[in-house]
Symmetry: C6
């Protein structure tokens, strides 16, 4: 899912599993970046620095946590 | 939606699709900036630096995630 | 609303429109600053630097997003 | 309320007005600092620098916004 | 509670008072640090710098605010 | 749980105890990092710096707090 087309927006926040929900949270976090800087060449150029910086990675994990809150609520926490 | 008139505030937080909800979250995030610094000339001058900085882009994605939480709740997560 | 008297606190979080709710979120965000630093002369002196820094503006937008979450919930998301 | 004794913890999160709720949010935000650094002499020494830094003030406003979310929910948003 | 054994995890998030709930929020915030860096010698060495930095203290207060949101909800805001 | 295989995603957010819920929050926070930077060699290289920096540890604790909010809600706060 990480490399999926950023232009394909999910039609729903519902997922079958917790893991798919987490992957969707990652996708939304990246979309937030891509919609702000749509130039993929620039994004690829920025990646090495930020993927090798612990604080940048923690910040990325924080955005994922926020989006996962939304998706978990949307799925009623997969309580089943 | 990204380039829409910042003075046109949405009358509702309800959207037809998840994607429109995400676009609205982006718009609110930008409105938060524009209401703090209404001078568009200055905002355009700031853009190159921040759109080329990975940490700035992650921070932008974080604000979008917070506004998306609000909009997703407003739409009852588009549970349909 | 942006320039209203910081000493006039709203009696309610309910607003008629989404836009008024967003303006109230901005007001609460500024109040958080003013209650920490009540000296308006100092606040005015700080403004030029922070209103010309993209990361400061994103941080301001983040606080607005948090307060907008509160106000949107208080208004039951203006579901009407 | 800003200068109240930090050792007097409120017995309840319920307040009569929105403004009192906001003041309580400020008090909890300061308590979070004081419980981490209880030495008031040090805290007073730190104040000048942080009260004159726009980004520090925005960060303080962010913590207040988080605590205000809690207190507003505790008061059912003073819907009355 | 601040100095309690970090290995004694609470069996419940329910507390008798608001103040105990706030203390629990502080404990969870510290646990988040200790689980990431379990070496107490290193943590003690880091303390002087961070306990004398206003921005570090605000960041600590922010984590406490987030955990207090969780604990307040768990206690139904001690509405009594 | 800290060293568990990052590829084993939990099938559920439900846990038996508060402590297991907190451990799951830590795991999700690390997953957010690992999904962004899957190269474990790089992650191990980054650890010494960030595990010895008070602000990095506070930021890690913040992400854990956000994920713990999700997990605590998923478990109805273990109200029992």
């Amino acid at each position: 899912m990480a490399d999926q087309n950023p232009n394909t927006f999910p039609a729903t926040l519902q997922t079958n599993t917790v893991e798919e929900g987490f992957d969707l949270a990652i996708m939304l976090s990246r979309l937030g970046v891509k919609k702000t800087q749509p130039n993929m060449k620039i994004l690829r150029k920025l990646r090495p620095k930020y993927a090798n910086d612990a604080d940048s990675l923690t910040a990325a994990s924080q955005v994922i946590a926020l989006n996962f809150q939304t998706i978990a609520a949307a799925n009623n926490y997969w309580r089943g």
